[in-house]
Symmetry: C2
Subunit: 572 residues, 2 copies
């Protein structure tokens, strides 16, 4: 006799309750009323963190790591400070899933003890608190990953990433929220609910690594790990003002992590760092690659960290580079703040002696159609099965209230391109692969052909593009992943970096243009400069496949130039 | 009004006729009668090649390349000699498809002219004649690839490999035969017919790169390029006494080549060198990788040639290595000559100070089932369509006469494992990927765990194994690809290398063992020491994924040790 199956609602609310109980009572704060849209200053005003803890959690990653690996700063102190700030962030954005304060502090003490006994750090991530998207399995914890059906399933192993992070000395200290199915650019599920954007709780933090986005925006973690199959690192990073790296397929170890669409290998999900600090990109990637992840995860490419590529040996050592600016991918035209950000970057780069030319989009609609068709080639079977187990319904809109928005986006362009969901055969999938492969070849040739226009003797060194055509939008409205899909479908190594914030005075609506399609028209109408005031505006830098080292190197240069430019011109 | 479709038989015989006409009349030889089983000495006896040409075509690749790249030897002379010898080989084994004597000689003269004008070689393959499997598209030629439907389709581009070979200075000079569908370990199709083994025309040269196998065995080419999705480089190399390298997925540029199962990317077909000369492995692989193939083929891994890995930095610099000997994969037990070859290698390695331990097979039947199921996941749709166009029938047996063999292999183990062919859904394919991924992880952990047994402090440096459980067999009987599939499914970089020849006096039948399955029993019965006398016996060396450099380096060491051992002990 089996016990009668519990209703999914009961399951979920009990699990949410358990999560609440994991918050130490003394760390509860007075949550501001819903009238307060921007909660970014709550860590400073709530009184939970001491001035030292605030200063510590506000520090740049490089300094923090230097002090941790030299033993100047105890991991326990750093971990406690970030735990507090993370739990503050959680209380105002609902960004966390797993909260395990004692375990995290125990680990921090273990690391501190190692330093005491050996007089040297455990590894390059010694003592560093790291937050993890709710896919990275940790022994003894559940990996809910947005599904009620995962409640009560405790992992008997760490995934390879976590195994390696431990060996490198890190302190995994919280796990962060995701959308059901993982396949949304927003973050909401039936177990843990919705994550909101700390700059404005009416807006999404992005997704699917949206828990990381909100947490990191509030400095609730110095470094987080998210994943990206269609923009899931870059979207929340752009919406929350963060740096990120979307590496190429199989550069970093994913084995053993939970995932949606398991076994789908046509467009592989990848993992990467997200952080307030630029230094996170090299620190995280190099630490993992130097530890030879291909000896743990059979899919990881055997490609050692290449310091020459990082020093831009293929890009004139960074001296005079040429960037292709993707002003408009001809699918959705970027909102005014994105345009201004690109103009600012262009001017800054040119003043610094680099070249900026227009990037011509090629086959973008075909690329999106093929990619999006591949991602639904199972006709939704994967989601259906994950929901069926618990009986929870499949979430079909990220909008808090149905019809809350006046903009008609019901028939999305993606759905128009991919047609109604249906199960494809293996043979049909193979044809999509062939089409994708030919699109990759065409894009490669197109890129190489820019050598004729750059004036540097080389093709464009990297493309600079919006990550999303807009800044954070109201919940339920983030339909467009077209700027990010390019990287996933072509498998380009991409970074995301913050550039500026929306300035309603400068970022007035543009005059209507000749709309590319109904979605472009809808997104045009969505722009209201007052609504978006103060929001982070990020861009992405797109390099070649498996060119992570150079993408990091170029991002550091571009970021430095933009920061100098802003300082010189007194810009935000 | 369309013209009535021509019967496929007419199409094929006219195409075969055209092939015959491409043989210069003065290069026709007196073909020995069918009573002569072994045609290996025909180049020496037929009178077509001068003593100088015979000496030139018998030279080791390293010498040949040194003289070509220094300008000491003219490419035209080398190319003419190899063309002659290739056409001799063709007349006795039917190994060629495309014959283009004038075009090849023109290219050779172009290369010679370059040397004259510039005083330096065009590239590392300067002037070297290279034969190509009938998949590597060349502008202006058809790529029949075993299908009548490809007759009359002339390519308007070179595939990336050919494009790069030209730039490296090579002289593509013939193309070689394949089986219809490419998915057999033998070589026969309705257009060009069957390729036979030059050691015995009753036996297969292997496949699917069997045209290369027969051609290279007779020194009709110094270096050939084949492909491998399930053993197609290693099987003909083992059956014909050659060296080969099966690189990991996407190390070398396949883009633009014709292929079967186009778009199937779960187990990617790869290309690699085949040759009489050991030096071919490094020469070919390094030349291509150094030319940055990822700038031409978007799927190629951006991994520069790593000379440290070639010098075995991860393997004690080759000083004291440990090899795992796969005596029996528990699916089909190797024939006596293979066992003797492994024993010889073991003794030779041990005398040279290396360690040899037994390799324990793990999950081999599961690995084969998953791999073989993936390869028929389209339910045969790909083959069906390629046959439909011309109306030619799908070849269902490689046997020259039905029921010619007394051994019942009709129900092959592969078919029993994969079940009747049926079209799988994308979702089902994803589940196979998950299973494959877990099998790869299990095999990786299994390999790493050998560190406890090797005595070197490291896991086994490489596995040594038969490529096939037997030497060349009568046409229609090469059913077993289980020793090669391991490399394709786990994506291990593997080499093939010749060890000895069948010696009927030493290689007496073994007593029957406890058969693993009915196929193992059938292959046991197949062994007749007199039938196989004098045939080449080859093994493979299996390294880690994307470890091509180290696999080449280790193969060079093992080969040298075995050659020394044979010389010291006066063995063949």
């Amino acid at each position: 006799m089996s016990t009668p199956k519990e209703d999914w609602r009961t399951l979920c609310s009990r699990r949410k309750q358990k999560q609440n109980e994991n918050i130490p009572p003394e760390w509860r704060i007075q949550v501001p009323s819903k009238d307060v849209q921007n909660v970014m200053d709550v860590p400073y005003t709530c009184g939970l963190l001491s001035p030292e803890e605030l200063a510590l959690t506000d520090r740049d990653l490089d300094d923090l790591v230097a002090d941790l690996t030299s033993g100047k700063l105890k991991s326990e102190d750093a971990t406690r400070a970030f735990l507090k700030r993370a739990i503050v962030a959680h209380q105002v954005t609902n960004c966390l899933t797993e909260i395990f304060v004692d375990r995290a502090l125990d680990r921090a003490r273990e690391v501190d003890k190692y330093m005491e006994e050996h007089g040297k750090p455990m590894g390059p991530l010694h003592g560093l608190p790291i937050s993890l998207k709710d896919q990275f399995t940790m022994k003894g914890l559940e990996t809910i990953m947005g599904y009620a059906s995962n409640i009560g399933k405790f992992a008997d192993h760490d995934c390879v990433l976590v195994e390696m992070l431990y060996e490198l000395g890190a302190v995994p200290f919280v796990r962060t929220n995701v959308p059901q199915t993982l396949m949304w650019g927003e973050t909401q599920n039936n177990v843990f609910g919705r994550t909101t954007n700390p700059y404005n709780h009416h807006l999404t933090a992005g997704g699917s690594s949206g828990g990381e986005g909100a947490l990191l925006a509030m400095n609730g973690s110095p470094l987080g790990v998210g994943t990206d199959i269609d923009g899931s690192l870059r979207i929340p990073s752009a919406f929350c003002g963060l740096y990120t790296l979307r590496p190429s397929y199989e550069r970093l170890p994913y084995h053993g992590a939970a995932n949606a669409l398991t076994g789908q290998e046509s467009i592989s999900s990848v993992l990467g760092p997200m952080s307030h600090s630029l230094g996170s990109l090299k620190l995280f990637t190099k630490a993992l690659v130097d530890a030879r992840p291909w000896e743990r995860d059979p899919l990881v490419v055997r490609k050692p960290w290449n310091e020459d590529e990082y020093r831009l040996v293929d890009h004139d050592r960074g001296k005079r580079m040429c960037f292709g600016m993707l002003w408009d991918n001809k699918v959705v035209k970027p909102h005014p703040p994105l345009k201004r950000a690109m103009e600012m970057v262009k001017r800054a780069l040119e003043e610094a002696g680099h070249v900026v030319i227009d990037w011509e989009p090629l086959n973008h609609v075909d690329i999106y159609r093929v990619a999006q068709t591949i991602l639904v080639a199972d006709g939704g079977e994967d989601y259906r099965r994950d929901c069926e187990v618990s009986g929870e319904p499949l979430i079909t809109s990220m909008s808090p209230e149905k019809d809350a928005h006046q903009i008609d986006l019901e028939v999305s362009l993606v759905k128009m391109l991919t047609g109604p969901p249906r199960s494809r055969s293996a043979y049909e999938l193979w044809q999509l692969h062939t089409e994708k492969r030919n699109l990759r070849k065409a894009y490669l040739d197109h890129w190489n052909a820019t050598a004729k226009r750059t004036g540097t003797g080389r093709p464009v060194d990297a493309i600079i593009s919006p990550a999303v055509a807009y800044t954070a939008v109201p919940h339920g409205l983030n339909y467009d992943s077209f700027y990010t899909t390019l990287g996933n479908a072509m498998d380009y190594a991409c970074s995301g970096f913050p550039v500026t914030v929306v300035d309603p005075e400068q970022d007035m609506p543009h005059d209507p243009h000749d709309f590319h399609n109904h979605e472009d028209a809808a997104f045009y109408k969505l722009y209201h400069h007052e609504l978006f005031a103060g929001l982070p505006v990020g861009l992405q830098l797109i390099g070649r496949t498996l060119e992570e080292e150079a993408v990091i190197g170029m991002t550091e240069i571009v970021d430095g130039i933009v920061k100098d430019y802003k300082k010189r011109n007194n810009l935000q």
